[in-house]
């Protein structure tokens, strides 16, 4: 019973990677850029964004499904990741435009003139032209990429340290995380927050210096990147939860005090998983928003994090593929319903218009899943695995000494 390799212990990881690979290949083959064009560029983007949502759902599953911390703040980390990459995208692209337009001038513009023009262009919308201090690193892709990981990580570390040290648990912790998210969103809504207030950052779909590359190609690049990130995130998550660490996490979820009396510092473990999942959420956000093209503070609003919990619950918490399935299924169905593509149902006296009624349907499904299928969509796989023969060779078939032995049962 010594350790086998990760893949031998979790055959679902290989199955998942295979499905993900086939999905990516399939979309590429049917994309406008590299194949038949059956799948439109905007739908490729939707699929790429969905992969990012699956990644943050994985993070949510680690922190909620495995450790039992119902965080209603992970979309804040997702949004921060998006803002961090968005700052560089917006700065560099505006700079490209400014430099091009100024190139025609007789006197070549100085560096400070260019910077002032960029500031004017970006912050004119909020009545300013000065670069706020938080844009100090926006000229450097490397530094902003570091911030994608560092800012959500540090915020989660500080917040988690304060919350877990005071032993805030359960619904109180959920409320606290939600308050953090709301505070952050409200702050970003202000014009003087330095991130363009409720305008947010826009034009993120245009990659600086790659103007000649059409969006159809860029969308597939991002799909690949998102798929790679999801694959890595899945393997990492499976590794974290499969060993003794996962055993401790599930112990904390089921009986926190018992884990403490075994000598494990529960607070350190919670802080560790909270921070690491915030980093994963930040990375997912940094891949999501260049595909969405725009980020604004509304994206960080607490409702987004609540949706995240709903996805994981519907998909089946406490199993990684459940979270991925839930996020993909619910967000795709959601965009189908809210996109107005579902025919309305005329009842004579009233017409059910799904754009309005989708939320009711989602809420209803959430309640139904919680009540009648707590294992979610992922639980359907148990129906299949439950029929496979247990690996109990040479032992009792049943729990008691009086049960049939294997040889007897074969007769």
């Amino acid at each position: 019973m010594t350790d086998r390799s990760l893949f031998a212990k979790n055959p679902s990881v290989l199955i998942f990677l295979a499905c993900l690979g086939m999905f990516t290949l399939g979309v590429t083959v049917f994309s406008e850029a590299f194949g038949s064009g059956l799948i439109s560029t905007s739908f490729v983007k939707t699929l790429g964004k969905t992969l990012c949502l699956c990644l943050i759902a994985l993070a949510m599953d680690l922190v909620w499904g495995y450790t039992g911390i119902l965080s209603l703040g992970h979309f804040a980390f997702f949004g921060i990741g998006g803002y961090m990459i968005g700052m560089w995208l917006m700065y560099e692209r505006t700079r490209d435009i400014i430099v091009t337009s100024m190139a025609g001038q007789e006197i070549p513009p100085t560096e400070s003139e260019i910077t002032a023009a960029i500031g004017n262009q970006i912050f004119g919308v909020v009545g300013s032209s000065e670069f706020p201090a938080i844009w100090a690193f926006s000229h450097s892709l490397t530094l902003q990429l570091i911030l994608v990981v560092a800012v959500p990580g540090l915020l989660a570390l500080v917040f988690g340290w304060l919350a877990f040290r005071s032993r805030v648990t359960g619904v109180y912790l959920s409320i606290l995380t939600q308050a953090m998210t709301l505070a952050l969103a409200l702050y970003l809504f202000q014009n003087d927050s330095g991130l363009r207030g409720n305008n947010g950052l826009s034009g993120l779909q245009n990659l600086p210096g790659l103007d000649e590359v059409p969006q159809s190609v860029v969308s597939v690049w991002f799909l690949w990147a998102s798929a790679a990130a999801l694959g890595l995130g899945y393997v990492f998550s499976a590794w974290v939860v499969s060993g003794k660490f996962g055993s401790v996490l599930r112990g904390i979820r089921d009986d926190e005090a018992r884990v403490r009396f075994l000598g494990y510092s529960v607070e350190a473990y919670k802080l560790f998983i909270f921070t690491i999942t915030a980093v994963i959420a930040g990375i997912a956000g940094a891949l999501y928003y260049p595909q969405a093209g725009i980020i604004n503070p509304a994206e960080i609003a607490p409702i987004a994090s609540i949706y995240l919990a709903v996805w994981v619950a519907i998909g089946g918490r406490g199993r990684l593929y459940g979270a991925v399935i839930g996020a993909a299924f619910v967000s795709l169905v959601s965009s189908w319903f809210t996109g107005g593509q579902v025919p309305s149902i005329p009842l004579g006296f009233y017409t059910i218009d799904w754009v309005d009624w989708w939320l009711v349907l989602l809420g209803f499904s959430f309640v139904m899943v919680t009540l009648f299928a707590p294992r979610g969509i992922g639980g359907l796989f148990d129906l299949w695995t439950g029929h496979m023969a247990p690996a109990r060779h040479g032992q009792d078939l049943g729990p008691d000494a009086g049960s049939l032995q294997e040889q007897e049962a074969d007769q």
């Binding site: 019973m1 974290v240 003794k244 089921d254 000598g263 729990p399």
Partner: protein, 246 residues
């Protein structure tokens, strides 16, 4: 015999009710001790204080050769220092296998990073199998502990205690809800454990205490009423009045 744990002058009150009142107690390094007393005598609160769950209002709790105070340490630190505790209700991780439960309890580095990079060694697996043998759960190693019977869960929890290799075992009503044969087995495990470490058993059942054949401390209203052999304390007039007589 040198002292392992010394509790002196400890008091604690909850909303004005004195659960523990100027309690003093000590136990040596390889000693079995039974604590008896009526409901509300402060038996469980006493364990809560030693394991760090409850902070006393006054008094000292001194531990080990280096005479460190347990009052400034967190529950996890106290557990790592060598105090193991078994709860009244069996608390095992029902969602995980017996093997995983025991592996979780094995004395190893408890930090998040060492645990994250932990790989089972053949030595650890052997240890788990030896423990399972001791508590009679070898055939159940691959089962989820939630499927075990009540008595088996109690043993598993005792096994997890032993896996921690503590110097002091605090055991709260280990025989509750067990069949007579299971009780005998439990007695054997505890007596064996007390050969190498200190074991404190809180128990209601006199027959079980008699079988443990050890020194008995009687608690009443948060302080020690009598101490000595079971025959000695049961013939004590005060004890008869407050506990046995009723």
């Amino acid at each position: 015999m040198s002292t392992l744990l010394e509790v002196s002058g400890v008091s604690v009150s909850f909303d004005g009710f004195k659960a523990i009142n100027n309690l003093s107690f000590q136990i040596g390094k390889a000693e079995m001790r039974a604590i008896i007393g009526p409901n509300g005598a402060g038996k469980t609160t006493f364990m809560d204080i030693v394991t760090g769950k409850t902070r006393p209002d006054e008094g000292r709790v001194i531990w080990g050769d280096k005479s460190v105070s347990l009052l400034k340490m967190s529950e996890a630190q106290i557990a790592r220092a060598g105090v193991g505790r078994k709860f009244q209700r069996p608390t095992v991780f029902e969602d995980q296998t017996v093997f995983d439960n025991l592996l979780l309890a094995l004395k190893k580095d408890r930090g998040p990073l060492p645990v994250l990079f932990y790989r089972r060694s053949a030595e650890d697996v052997d240890k788990v199998h030896a423990l399972a043998e001791e508590i009679g759960l070898t055939d159940q190693l691959d089962r989820k502990s939630g499927e075990l019977s009540h008595g088996q869960k109690q043993w598993l929890e005792i096994g997890m205690l032993l896996a921690q290799e503590p110097q002091l075992l605090l055991v709260d009503e280990p025989a509750a809800g067990m069949t007579p044969e299971e009780r005998e087995h439990t007695t054997a495990i505890l007596v064996e454990a007390a050969k190498t470490r200190a074991v404190v058993v809180v128990e209601h059942d006199m027959e079980f205490v008699r079988r443990l054949n050890c020194k008995v401390t009687v608690l009443h209203e948060g302080s020690v009423l009598a101490e000595g052999s079971l025959d000695h304390v049961t013939s004590n007039k005060d004890v008869i009045d407050v506990y046995l007589g009723r």
